[in-house]
């Protein structure tokens, strides 16, 4: 669809002839100030909760968070509490960490596997199958939560981690993305693999997966975010407090007459750290991976 735009073979001239009125430098300055201002505004809520970790929890909950800070009242008490007397907090943290790693790896493998089938082969029912993938992308899980919840209770699968993970391994959005990416992989690689006697699945695992690293990095971030923060389905399924994931555990601290608001605030702040590390680690692959796998015309 992008071909309709006027193109010309002439590539010799340069772009960006200066516009009258405003110099390039002034324009760059205004742009920089604008971007910085928005960047800082979007960091405000995170900074606010960071400040909250040094304050008295009950005060924060009663008065709301703000930037009028009384420096004499700031203390490290909450940090001491977090590492000495935070109940099940680190149990939840650990549960979330393990489950996120397992589920992200599982989702990436299963979804890329399925996507490869759609991208690389011609077979009967292919377009119908892929249209189903697209339709599934547009159906929110929230609509299925009730019947799934009833079903889980019927078969006695509640309170087990596998039921938290299993429904989401073949994940429509991730399949869609990987398929886009694989469509750009030259088919000669497959032919070369076949000539060398590699099986169809060997070609996928040994030849295609290694060259799709940027796609895996981008999807690791997007899925990692969703899974680390996953709340609704685990909330419905998990029952015993020692199996809770971090968001569920934090939510239990948000009671009207809570006596542990300090943990709620500092715990919320610390819950950002693993996912922030993941993001910063993979960030440089991110836009490249998204571009390569993005929806194309």
């Amino acid at each position: 669809m992008s071909q309709q735009t006027a193109t010309r073979p002439d590539r010799t001239s340069t772009v960006g002839a200066s516009r009258p009125g405003m110099s390039r430098r002034t324009a760059a300055l205004i742009q920089g100030a604008f971007l910085l201002a928005i960047a800082l505004i979007s960091l405000v809520p995170v900074l606010a909760i960071f400040v909250g970790t040094f304050q008295d929890g009950n005060e924060v909950i009663r008065n709301g968070i703000s930037f009028s800070i009384d420096f004499s009242e700031l203390s490290f008490d909450n940090y001491v509490m977090l590492f000495t007397d935070s109940g099940m907090y680190f149990q939840w943290f650990w549960n979330s960490l393990v489950l996120t790693v397992v589920q992200v790896v599982g989702t990436l493998l299963v979804s890329s596997f399925v996507a490869y089938g759609f991208a690389m082969y011609e077979f009967r029912g292919k377009s119908l199958g892929f249209i189903l993938v697209i339709i599934l992308m547009t159906i929110p899980f929230e609509m299925l939560m009730l019947p799934l919840y009833v079903q889980v209770n019927d078969i006695g699968a509640a309170d087990q981690y596998w039921i938290v993970v299993l429904p989401f391994l073949a994940q429509a959005v991730t399949i869609f993305f990987f398929r886009q990416y694989f469509l750009g992989v030259p088919k000669e690689i497959l032919e070369a693999g076949r000539v060398d006697g590699v099986s169809e699945f060997g070609i996928f695992f040994r030849l295609v997966v290694p060259i799709a690293k940027p796609a895996f990095a981008a999807m690791a971030i997007l899925n990692g975010m969703t899974i680390w923060n996953n709340f609704l389905w685990p909330l419905l399924v998990l029952r015993s407090p020692d199996k809770f994931l971090l968001p569920i555990g934090l939510n239990t601290l948000l009671t009207p007459h809570g006596n542990n608001y300090e943990l709620l605030i500092i715990g919320s702040f610390f819950s950002l750290i693993p996912i922030l590390i993941l993001f910063l680690a993979f960030q440089r692959f991110f836009v490249a991976g998204m571009t390569a796998g993005s929806v194309k015309g």
Binding site: T5, I38, G64, M143, A170, I275
Partner: protein, 305 residues
Amino acid sequence: MAETHRMKKLLYNQRLAPYLFILPFLVTLLIFWLVPVGRSVIMSFQEVLYGQATFIGTANYERLWRDQVFWKAMFNSIRYMVLTLVILVPIPMVLAAIINSKLGSSRIKNFFKSSLFVPALTSVVVAGIVFRLMFSETDSGLMNQIVEFLGFGPVRWLREDLTGLAALLLLALWRWAGVNTMYFLAGMQAIPNEYYEAASIDGASKIQQFFNVTLPGIKPTIVYVTTISVYGGLAMFLESFMLYAGNNSPNNQGLTIVGYLYRKGIQENDLGFASAVGVVLLVVVLAINLTQLTATGTFKKESTR
């Protein structure tokens, strides 16, 4: 000759391979989507009490039709969906265009991209708690400090319909602007540079280039972002659940259709009626998205690929 050799082993069979590759998807589709949806449809025609199901025809749907709270929830969800579309498509698009321009320092742009993305990393629980505290009705809450700085009295944000809605929209903008900006940026970077060069030779201004080169080039991204925004908007529940610290808000002003489904099905265990709510929601979402995907030619394109 090579064919017979391949046939010997399943793993080398090129005819069978695609079906094995997509098998996990088919199994998931069947067990976790089709069976529950089918079950939901059946339950919506039943009264389910203590595990005993009796068919009651369309009584649940008739009750739904007359139910004021249901319509309120429907109204809230659709209003929220439309308004998030209005803010979460154009704003990220413009931001992406600004970052994509050759102008300015890449260091600032990288900082901007990261900062804008950080909110998406927060869980809805954490985001909800922070926003609840920022929109606190005391005069020491952050938003009230700003309002008072501008010369107005403290606002009881979460007590009033429109200010509560504003809080929800701001929360959505905060969390998703960065992600959508990334989608648009990825789409824009896939547009070949020559198109812009050609346009600038023809004398097109930057603004004209945006409308004549960028917009047509990112049409698939626009379709994609719109689709996920419709989905996210109509399915919104947890944001409201966290902001109002539970599924009850003044006059149900924060009640969404999924919130109603949750209240009826999970909290009140009225499974038949809640299933009817779920089926109606499913029909609404499918109708909107299928219309949109057909109108934009997505299906046609995918099936002729």
